[in-house]
Symmetry: C2
Subunit: 325 residues, 2 copies
């Protein structure tokens, strides 16, 4: 499926965006961060949302679509400081290339710039959109705080984990789509269905990410297989395994957790994966992904918009899942 007529204006508009000039230490990191690339899923969702209802989707929704992308990159920039991540998409993160103070402050300005990109929205929608954007922004921060909390918390339930990824990842995908829909002229009911489509896709996408860490092909996935296992990350897979493990299996899992010596990493990944296999973690995770995916499609079905335009959103979702149908 070719989404280039939507992606091209996004790429062009992002390349033209200036953010500011002086002092360069404040604005260079923003341009650097925005030029790192990425799939631009969120602004695509915004444009596809507007396109469901309007032929003027570019003029109505392009700047707001950039707002969502700038906001998303702001969260990455600040998250990378908190996670002490050295690389983002293979390039040095801002807090490494410059320093943490520069990363804090240029992130702050990115959040301001994200808001500014929304101010040209037609006045009758402005207040509502800004409120929804702000609510979503606070939720994304809540998700990041929960994610950090879970690192040091002994017990995390599966429900808590799902709530965390909903806040940290899924609500912004939902908002991106809802935003475009409202700008294109959707009814409140349709906008809500589309929001829920986006949230479902976000949940499915994050669970798929958890799954691929263990069961993905390293070459395709672009990360070392088992990285989450090595770092004891409380993923859906680990939490589900811990919840359904028998005594021996739980002992195996707990024995490996906290053992972070590089020389035993391979044995750790093998041992934990073996427990996952015994407990059918892979098909169970796939079933939950499919559940969210089917729920997403049901919400899309309920939307009152031309079928050929809805097909583009379905196609994007399939592409995100790297599925054929």
């Amino acid at each position: 499926m070719d989404l280039s007529r939507f992606l091209t204006p996004i790429t062009r508009a992002l390349a033209a965006e200036q953010y500011g000039t002086e002092p360069p230490e404040l604005y260079e990191p923003i341009r650097y961060s925005m030029s790192m690339g990425g799939k631009r899923i969120r602004p695509l969702l915004t444009l596809l949302g507007a396109h469901l209802y309007s032929d003027h989707w570019e003029q109505q929704a392009l700047k707001p679509a950039l707002a969502v992308e700038v906001f998303h990159n702001f969260t990455l920039l600040h998250d990378d400081i908190m996670d002490q991540a050295p690389l983002r998409r293979g390039q040095p993160t801002v807090h490494v290339k410059w320093n943490p103070n520069v990363a804090i402050l240029s992130g702050d300005v990115m959040l301001v710039r994200a808001y500014e990109l929304l101010f040209d929205i037609e006045p009758s929608l402005l207040r509502e959109v800004l409120q929804r954007f702000s609510q979503t922004a606070a939720e994304v921060c809540e998700g990041q705080q929960l994610d950090m909390n879970f690192e040091t918390r002994a017990q995390v339930s599966i429900a808590q984990y799902l709530d965390m990824i909903r806040l940290k990842t899924a609500v912004l995908l939902g908002f991106a789509l809802e935003l475009g829909a409202r700008l294109g002229g959707a009814s409140a009911a349709d906008a809500d269905h589309l929001r829920r489509f986006g949230v479902d896709i976000g949940l499915a996408f994050q669970l798929r990410d958890d799954l691929l860490d263990v069961y993905g092909d390293a070459a395709t996935f672009g990360k070392r297989v088992g990285g989450d296992i090595v770092s004891d990350k409380k993923t859906y897979l680990l939490l589900t395994a811990l919840e359904s493990a028998n005594e021996a299996q739980e002992a195996t899992l707990r024995q490996w957790m906290g053992q972070n010596a590089p020389e035993t990493a391979e044995a750790k990944v093998a041992a934990v994966t073996a427990v996952y296999d015994e407990l059918s973690i892979r098909p169970r995770t796939e079933a939950l992904i499919n559940y969210y995916f089917q729920d997403a499609l049901a919400h899309l079905d309920a939307v009152q918009a031309p079928a050929d335009r809805k097909a583009l959103l379905r196609g994007l979702a399939l592409q995100l899942m790297e599925r054929e149908n």
Copy 2:
């Protein structure tokens, strides 16, 4: 002068503000930071600005006044991380009491909450106010970045220093007052005069802060005298001294700069202050403070509002300067 009928609703509204609940690690630091106190100058300026034009100042301007105060406290929270400041108003800073990650993230949410407090503004003013707020917010970040840059830069001109304090401190005071004026119904010309009054007062106040560090009474001022000298801070006093020093005086200043041993701190303060005295730095700084103060009063004079209401703003400015007239 008694401003309690303006201060009381601010204090009450701040105490009632919730910010959010879960996770507590995200929202407790916001409540902590907002409850640390302070003189609430910025929201006072907003209310006094609205009061110039309207008897409904509380209903028109109270929530937006809080927005400015929440934004100001957000900047303090993030600045304290960057400056590694252990204390703020005698209490542990958020990054010390919790940790830097919590401080970054709860600061981010504070910026979002500041925006949210503006959304009830009447629709005809909303877009303009949000644009001016965002412009001011970016300028405050630019000021903070310049301040950090100056710490490690060998040469800083007086013009650059004044521009830095204008951005870091003064523009927000100007915006706070302009905001209130617009909400109360000021003309564009009046709102601009009031903005410039606020900027002037901010510049005068910051220069007075520089001056009091050296020439203030430690008991009244609440900081150790000469702290800026000990830490080689490039204040207006130091930059002016460096610019007009003869060879011997410059040698004295440069010899002491970078000597940060605690045991020589007293001698350093005495030696640098002696050069300041030789160069009449105190009366020269006082003259610049007075220049900004008189310029502020001229802008206030030009404003078309009742004299008794303007007198409150003049009174607040005098109070900030701790002057009698």
